[in-house]
């Protein structure tokens, strides 16, 4: 046994190590949650705390031990903010567009497994998955299942049940997540390895909604985080007691020490909302792709991007025409004009593209340079109107040389100069021939 002084010195040593400044961890991750919310998000006035567990949950046993489990059912007309789950009906038909590489086209809606996990860290063997929510359409309802490890010791049992319930080992379900390709699936497989099991979430067919959501909402929303899309697009307001994703680990650690239900309920509710709103978003995107929902705001452009990426050029063009007709001035409109111009050019309809390019010419920055270039090519190669092409190029050069350097790169200027020289000589040759 160590002497008291030695013990105390070790204690001081470790304190000293612990208080050294850490490399750039966000402040929110270092702190404990400052205040425990007065109550969990759905009420529950008569809670006695501290008290381990989760409301409406049971303790469930597996060969690996016990963990906490609950099932919540939502009717398919349940609305997440302004977004009804009923649009999920359209999802199955849209999978080929939402996740062209998933190999999940033609999958049944019932085979989709919505999933979101909560962990104690972003990676490494020391971060555990302590809470998993899955959502599935079963018998006309959306069934949400939550698996909670009340302590790190219960993670094995949690995974055991999750693997059994989802039939992941048989490669059955089609995973639907938000950034789950990079995070949730490899994390669950790694955790299974920690318990000397093989899960196989990474090998499942996987519809990661982050990709299509980015295609649709990029540039329109401030970010493509699920929380942003929820509030900006689907009109969902999270309960005031909801916990910020980045603070989840700190809350869980506090729960470990105190057993205070008020620390775990907000995380569980946060996790449940994540999966339900994930399903709602999937439904919305499915309905948009399937033509069952009219795009709002920048969604028409977004939808065109998504369809373009999935090589459905005809539909993509249709949505661009819609965007060009509806969108007011701004980058979204410019992008729509530019994309539409490309569509027309490829289809040989330069006549339709020309007015779009002329509109872009008067906009700032790269859009304008791009439009000048397209017009110059059009007048030179299609119309053989070298004089007009030269005018456009000279205008472009004037713009490029006075524009801010970040727009007018040297290579643009170089390319325009080269084009101008060629046009001048072609003009000379043309006029020479004419005078003979």
């Amino acid at each position: 046994m160590l002497r008291a002084e030695t013990r105390e010195r070790l204690r001081l040593l470790i304190r000293e190590i612990e208080t050294r400044p850490r490399a750039a961890a966000p402040a929110s991750m270092e702190r404990e949650p400052e205040a425990v919310p007065a109550r969990p998000w759905e009420g529950g006035d008569d809670l006695e705390v501290p008290q381990r567990g989760l409301r409406e949950a049971v303790r469930r046993e597996t060969d690996e031990g016990t963990f906490t489990y609950r099932e919540l059912r939502y009717d398919l007309d349940y609305a997440v903010g302004g977004q009804s789950l009923s649009e999920l009906e359209a999802l199955a038909g849209a999978i080929g567009v939402l996740a062209p590489d998933a190999g999940a086209e033609g999958a049944e809606l019932e085979s989709l497994l919505f999933l979101d996990i909560e962990t104690t860290g972003l990676g490494g063997a020391g971060a555990i998955a302590f809470l998993v929510a899955t959502g599935r359409v079963e018998g006309g309802a959306f069934v949400l299942r939550q698996y909670l490890a009340e302590s790190p010791a219960e993670e094995g049992a949690l995974l055991d049940a999750l693997i059994a319930d989802t039939e992941v080992e048989r490669g059955e379900p089609v995973l639907a997540t938000y950034n789950g390709r990079a995070f949730d699936a490899p994390m669950l497989d790694a955790r299974a390895t920690m318990h000397r099991r093989r899960a196989g979430f990474e090998s499942l067919r996987h519809v990661d909604l982050l990709m299509p959501a980015r295609a649709v909402y990029r540039g329109w929303l401030a970010s493509c985080r699920l929380a942003t899309i929820e509030s900006e697009v689907m009109g969902l307001t999270r309960p005031s007691a909801d916990v910020d994703g980045a603070e989840v680990p700190a809350w869980y650690f506090r729960y470990l020490r105190t057993g205070d239900m008020r620390c775990i309920e907000p995380i569980a509710s946060h996790n449940a909302i994540d999966v339900v709103s994930l399903a709602a978003l999937a439904g919305r995107l499915g309905a948009l792709v399937g033509g069952r929902r009219a795009p709002e705001g920048g969604e028409s452009l977004g939808l065109a991007r998504l369809l373009g990426a999935a090589a459905d050029l005809e539909s993509s063009k249709r949505w661009l025409e819609r965007a060009a007709a509806e969108l007011g001035p701004g980058d979204a409109r410019r992008e729509a004009l530019m994309r539409l111009g490309l569509h027309y050019r490829r289809a040989g309809r330069h006549d339709l593209a020309e007015p779009l390019w002329w509109e872009l010419v008067s906009t700032p920055g790269l859009w304008s340079l791009h439009a000048h270039e397209e017009l110059a090519k059009y007048y030179e190669h299609r119309c053989h109107d070298f004089a007009r092409a030269s005018d456009v190029v000279e205008q472009a050069l004037a713009l490029a040389t006075r524009a801010e350097p970040r727009f007018a790169h040297a290579r643009h200027i170089e390319a325009f100069r080269y084009r101008l020289a060629r046009l001048t000589s072609r003009q000379k040759r043309a006029s020479g021939t004419g005078s003979d």
Binding site: E5, I17, G123, A125, G126, A153, D189, L256
Partner: protein, 775 residues
């Protein structure tokens, strides 16, 4: 160019000749062969023969046999003795038998790892065995990492990457850990001190992960010659190991010279400076077109010598580029260019720190000049081994400095040419080091109750503290990680104190030119210091001690700066002590240090031309120490001034010769003296470690006190100076008032008091024989 002509020129040079006090020709040695162990894959034996390796040397044969039989081992042989074959053959054989087999190679640096790849590829291509090798380090692109993790049979990495990249993510390395057959640890002797203590903990963690995945790998280590390779390997791996040290490799002829710069002031015992002497020799070699490497112990001297050697050249950019500096702190790209320049022969002289000592491929140079003894015999032979990997005669010259360590080595050739007495020491249970790795271990796998004993001496107390503050969570006898942090990220294996000061050239454009550890920063990049990088001088405009940034700008001045550190010390606990005619003890101490002022010293003349104050807060350190008091007989009837002088002289000589037993950098050990120590109540000299928590030097010096005091006595006794000089007890404070005779009397009385213990007189060392040490 021929070495013979160059040798003749050196010997004939009247300005140098007097300094060469020992020339030794180490004759070439014939190869001694063994047999390929039975059971080796025939394709492999065929490939080896096709590459001209008909039979293995005796040590290779023994090593391969041990590995195949599953015995852990350390192979102790000099540079260029074919040690890589010792581990490559069993590894390739294992993969040939079972393609699922895996091996992990650990090299102390990234550059070394790269070189090994070539070696191994040649062999497997020839053998037609499907064996994939990958290096995994900070330079491995993220998209390649997946392939390394799943498909690599041999993963080549360094301890740092194993610690921070692989172990904490072991679930991604299942294939490696499930089938790990061999762990290869090259340059084992470099894993000593703090670094070694960290690496021992990393290996504990590694073996723990292996157990989890059901593998039980065999260690194949290789080391340069040190006194205790087997012990060091055992402490690092936690296992008993076989020692293979019967080198059967042939060796080309080498000429080794010991050079002691002439006395410029015999009265004060001051010799010509090592920098000047080395410069003269290096210039001479250059004139003879001998491609040379010059090693020097400090970054500062790298810069100084580079500058001097360039100054001696015709002033044009082309010639300047033929002399280059090389040290840590240079950016990787810069270093790769220098390495290439050496291989191509474009660079004629390189001045380097030990950053170039290990196996980085720069080809075989003609001569190696050591500006000062590098601190360990193992290092010395490795640095000398940088010359002459071909069949020609190679030249190696050790230039001694004024210090007692160098003077001892250069005047006691048996110490370097005889059997090694220097030990590689580590302390895996250093509480700071162990605490950091305990956290990593818990992060990697929940800790079972029955594992506590294997994780270090204070595990239970540490866990209690960690559980208290919520870093870990304990339930049912298991300990789980319960913190958001990724602990390995905050722990550097290389530094005891991982806080570095970043050095920023303010430009424009502003750029980072290097980093320096916090304690060293106090004396090298304080306000107004002259910081030298690649022969360029910079003035430190401001050292921001809270942000740990030093702002510098290029200048051109004719001086450099040298800072003074004031030190105070208190004994916290005495772990062991003995009282005879004098007291000796070791234990834990608290050291308080403060950078106080700096001197401006003129280039070339080295005269003091000014000074300034340093305003930095006091730092403190808890660490290990060894101490001795002056013997009673010496104290009686002496004046305070005499006692002070004798104590100072005793401290000086002890701290300078102690590294002979410790394999440490002289900067790892410091001396403090107290005329009336509160702890011993007597005049006491303390040798304390610069590493927080210590790595066991105090204990080792206590155990080896007889040897330490014996060496110190012979240094003082044999020094030709009349009354004290920098080579023994330090120069006298005033002319004629030397304390040398007092120190000698003290040491003699102390040695007598310990007479029953091991005698470490030079005769004993000499009798160890004159077989050359490892190289």
């Amino acid at each position: 160019m021929s070495i013979e002509t160059a040798l003749a020129a050196l010997r004939a040079d009247p300005t140098l000749a007097d300094g060469f006090i020992d020339w030794r020709t180490l004759p070439s040695e014939e190869a001694r062969f063994g047999a390929w162990p039975r059971g080796l894959d025939p394709r492999l034996v065929g490939a080896l023969r096709a590459r001209g390796i008909e039979r293995p040397y005796v040590h290779q044969s023994a090593a391969i046999a041990h590995a195949m039989a599953g015995r852990d081992q350390v192979v102790v042989t000099p540079t260029a003795s074919g040690k890589t074959l010792c581990y490559n053959v069993p590894v390739v054989d294992a993969v040939a038998r079972d393609p699922a087999s895996r091996a992990l190679y650990l090299f102390p640096t990234k550059a070394l790892a790269q070189d090994q790849l070539h070696e191994l590829h040649g062999l497997i291509t020839e053998a037609g065995i499907d064996l994939k090798t990958f290096t995994y380090d900070g330079d491995t692109a993220p998209r390649e990492r997946r392939a390394v993790r799943t498909a690599g049979h041999v993963v080549i990495t360094n301890p740092d990457m194993l610690h921070s990249g692989i172990l904490p993510n072991h679930t991604k390395w299942v294939r490696l850990f499930e089938h790990l057959r061999y762990i290869v640890i090259d340059e084992l002797h470099t894993y000593r001190g703090v670094f070694g203590s960290h690496v021992a903990n990393v290996l504990r963690r590694l073996l723990r992960i292996c157990r989890f995945y059901g593998s039980d790998p065999v260690f194949i280590c290789s080391s340069a010659t040190i006194a205790n390779p087997g012990e060091l390997a055992s402490m690092l791996t936690g296992r008993e190991v076989e020692v293979v040290d019967d080198n059967g490799a042939p060796r080309g002829e080498r000429v080794i010279a010991l050079y002691n710069p002439p006395l410029v002031n015999a009265e004060l015992g001051i010799r010509r400076g090592v920098v000047h002497s080395t410069r003269a020799i290096a210039e001479r070699l250059r004139e003879e077109s001998v491609q040379s490497i010059v090693f020097t112990g400090s970054r500062h001297n790298v810069e100084l010598l580079t500058q001097y050697l360039r100054d001696a050249l015709p002033q044009n950019p082309t010639t300047a580029a033929t002399v280059r500096g090389y040290r840590s702190g240079y950016l990787p790209k810069e270093r790769r260019a220098i390495e290439a320049g050496l291989r191509s022969g474009e660079i004629r002289t390189v001045v380097a720190t030990n950053a170039l000592e290990l196996g980085i491929d720069i080809g075989g140079l003609d001569a190696s000049v050591l500006a000062g003894y590098p601190g360990t015999v193992a290092s010395m032979w490795q640095q000398l081994g940088r010359a002459g990997r071909r069949q020609e005669t190679a030249l190696g010259i050790l230039v001694a400095n004024n210090g007692p360590l160098d003077q001892y080595v250069v005047t006691h050739p048996e110490y370097v040419f005889g059997e090694s007495v220097e030990a590689g020491l580590i302390n895996p249970d250093n509480p700071i080091v162990a605490a950091e790795h305990l956290k990593c271990a818990v992060f990697e796998l929940p800790l079972e109750a029955d594992e506590l004993a294997a994780m270090g001496a204070h595990t239970d107390a540490l866990l209690e503290v960690l559980a208290d503050d919520g870093t870990v969570y304990q339930q049912g006898g298991r300990t789980y990680w319960s913190n958001l942090a990724y602990p390995a990220e905050d722990i550097s294996l290389r530094l005891a104190d991982e806080q570095n000061v970043v050095i920023i050239d303010q430009g424009p454009p502003a750029k980072v030119v290097g980093e320096i550890a916090r304690p060293a920063a106090m004396t090298t990049v304080h306000d107004e210091a002259i910081y030298i990088h690649d022969g360029r001088q910079y003035h430190v405009d401001r050292l921001d001690w809270t942000e740990l940034k030093a702002y510098i700008r290029p200048v051109d001045v004719d001086y450099y700066t040298d800072a003074h550190l004031a030190v105070d010390l208190r004994v916290l606990e005495e772990w062991d002590g003995e009282r005879t005619e004098f007291r000796r003890g070791h234990g834990e101490v608290a050291v308080f240090y403060l950078a106080t002022l700096f001197k401006k010293i003129k280039l070339y003349t080295h005269e003091n031309i000014g000074w300034g104050k340093i305003r930095l807060p006091q730092d403190d350190l808890h660490t290990g120490a060894f101490w001795v008091t002056l013997p009673d007989s010496l104290i009686e009837g002496r004046t305070r001034a005499e006692i002070e002088g004798a104590l100072y002289g005793l401290g000086e000589v002890l701290v300078h010769v102690a590294p002979l037993l410790l394999m440490c950098d002289p900067r790892d050990l410091h001396v403090a003296t107290q005329v009336r120590s509160p702890h011993t109540g007597a005049p006491t000299a303390f040798l304390w470690e610069s590493v927080p928590g210590g790595v066991g030097f105090g204990q080792h010096l206590f155990d080896q006190a007889a040897r330490l005091l014996g060496i110190a006595r012979s240094v003082v006794d044999e020094c030709p100076c009349p009354s004290g000089c920098p080579a023994c007890v330090g120069p006298p404070a005033a002319p004629g008032e030397g304390v040398k005779h007092l120190v000698l009397a003290a040491l003699t009385s102390m040695c007598d008091a310990m007479a029953s213990d091991v005698d470490a007189s030079p005769e004993v060392l000499a009798s160890a024989g004159d077989a050359a040490g490892g190289g």
